[in-house]
Symmetry: C2
């Protein structure tokens, strides 16, 4: 396979280059044809290159970015000023064909707006969507989208999500004809808003999507769906509720195990088994949300990601490069567009 290049916004996230640089090193070790362009403040990065074994690395380039977008910056004002930030320069490298994908742990809203304006969306897509993997009880994982990039979504947008998610899952996960569900407040066909019900009927009619019906949020782990589609507000709420409940549960378990001297002993003995059983649910494994619907590959890492989690985000970008996700989505869109327009105007 030919070399491929990732433009890394090294400054994004809570820990900036202290996470993105060691994660880059891990990924370079795993992929002999990976090239990384580290984009960020030279003054901060240069002293760290040696520490993280990246000094004079044959597959590492450094590109200076005088500015950094903070988590608090207002995305709209970031877009207006277009200052030469590490995020903007990394995206520009993808737009210019210098890199095959951009990975950033920075401000999600800014990444969304800058991506849309620098890379542009695919024909038929008005805004990119944020999609990520979630573990399921079948020992694998499902995709969920949108996770917050599009707070309110009409029927047309949800339909496009289903289509894009289907292509992403088919290619990256090598699932033939992935099953698609819409997240709803009930399974029955009369449940939910008019937009959702309308979208369900459109999905039922198209031959390009294997739509299997509504699912409720308590079934997210048990459902047979490969891709769960919802608006960005609900997707964000569902994802964060899971995270929150997981954290509460672990904290309560630790408390129970620390209650008495013998519970501490029992807990110590049981801990490796519990950790092993729960490791499949660990959010670090699923770090790396893709912004899809763009004419380029952009992967967003969680701002608080550790090295392992950031490496997973780079891995996601690599898979999307290998499977040429934007081209694949674009081709499927072209096939569906005519059919969908007919359905929408029936």
């Amino acid at each position: 396979m030919r070399n491929f290049t990732i433009a890394l916004d090294a400054m994004g996230g809570d820990f900036g280059p202290h996470i993105s640089l060691p994660a880059s090193y891990e990924s370079l070790q795993l992929h002999s044809n990976l090239v990384i362009i580290i984009v960020g403040d030279e003054q901060q990065i240069n002293p760290l290159l040696k520490k993280y074994h990246l000094l004079e690395h044959p597959r590492v380039k450094l590109m200076h970015a005088p500015e950094t977008i903070s988590m608090e910056d207002d995305p709209v004002s970031v877009l207006r000023h277009r200052s030469p930030s590490s995020m903007l320069i990394a995206l520009q490298l993808v737009a210019d064909g210098e890199a095959d994908a951009c990975v950033s742990a920075g401000n999600t809203g800014a990444l969304m707006l800058l991506s849309k304006h620098i890379l542009k969306t695919l024909k038929g897509i008005s805004r990119p969507a944020l999609v990520s993997a979630l573990p399921n009880n079948r020992g694998g994982h499902s995709y969920m989208m949108d996770l917050g990039a599009n707070l309110q979504c009409g029927c047309d947008t949800l339909f496009n999500f289903a289509l894009m998610g289907s292509v992403l899952c088919e290619k990256v996960e090598q699932v033939s004809s992935p099953s698609i569900s819409l997240l709803n407040v009930g399974r029955e066909s009369n449940k939910g808003s008019d937009e959702i019900k309308h979208c369900a009927s459109l999905l039922n009619k198209t031959k390009y999507i294997n739509y299997i019906g509504f699912i409720e949020a308590n079934e997210l782990f048990d459902s047979p769906a490969d891709v769960v589609v919802t608006d960005g507000f609900s997707g964000n709420i569902a994802l964060k509720s899971y995270e929150g409940m997981g954290r509460v549960f672990i904290a309560q378990l630790k408390k129970a195990m620390n209650a008495t001297w013998y519970s501490r002993l029992l807990g110590k003995l049981l801990n490796p088994l519990i950790k092993n059983q729960l490791k499949h649910l660990h959010p670090d494994l699923y770090n790396g949300a893709s912004l899809i619907g763009l004419r380029g590959i952009v992967v967003k890492s969680h701002g608080g990601a550790n090295i392992e989690a950031f490496t997973c985000a780079i891995e996601q970008a690599i898979k999307e490069i290998q499977w040429q996700i934007p081209t694949s989505i674009s081709e499927r869109l072209a096939s569906v567009l005519a059919e969908r327009d007919c359905l929408l105007h029936e």
Copy 2:
């Protein structure tokens, strides 16, 4: 205290009278001034009265209802036909002043529509809201609303929820000036839809509500908010995500404990401590969602509730009778209405 009366839709839920009757017995034991009117199919209920110690009970009345609304019935068609179901008759008893509250484990949508049409909403409220308690990490619980009765909510509706939740919490939980949060995709004031941002600014301005800002779904357990306000779609998603994640964790924990002979032994020894630590999170304790904004008290039990959980739902109805929730909300609404109208048209 004078006697008070609950009209019980004995047929609702997955197990009908096999749960609602023994739960009634438990509640009658706990409250010497409680009277229960059991509404349902006499032919099914009569043979069970003896089994559940309710035969010739001095504080039990039986009222025959020839029909039962199933979980699959379409709420709109239930409303149109208004057949003499146990749910409809129980609500009518409240409307007629024969009972102080109605408790049902039946079809939520039907209960919502029938309640609204039989009991009517309070002045200034267009639709009732569904509110329930959720455990928090402070060892207590918070209220969350709406949980699915109002899927899409504008600024005005969210504002009313905040007001009603505030009164409910103040009275039932005896919290002075309860803190109110809006559920959102971020804590920053620029996050979320225009409706949410507008509602936040209105809540900030009113002296009747102790608004403390946005919270994210991963903070639902940790937040200082006494009442979390959101639209019915998101509330339903958040609540069910918690339930789903809790179930997954328990299942995984059991698997870990059953992995080897010694893990089974360790698990058996640790189990009582873990159960004790987690019991505070058990959904049965929080069963009983109130439909508020009506001119009467209606509490919805989970359809799959067991006896203990159904008893909690009756307990919630008793508290609302004691604190005269509809009157309290109505009085607060009257005080706020003028102020709110000024704020809305600023």
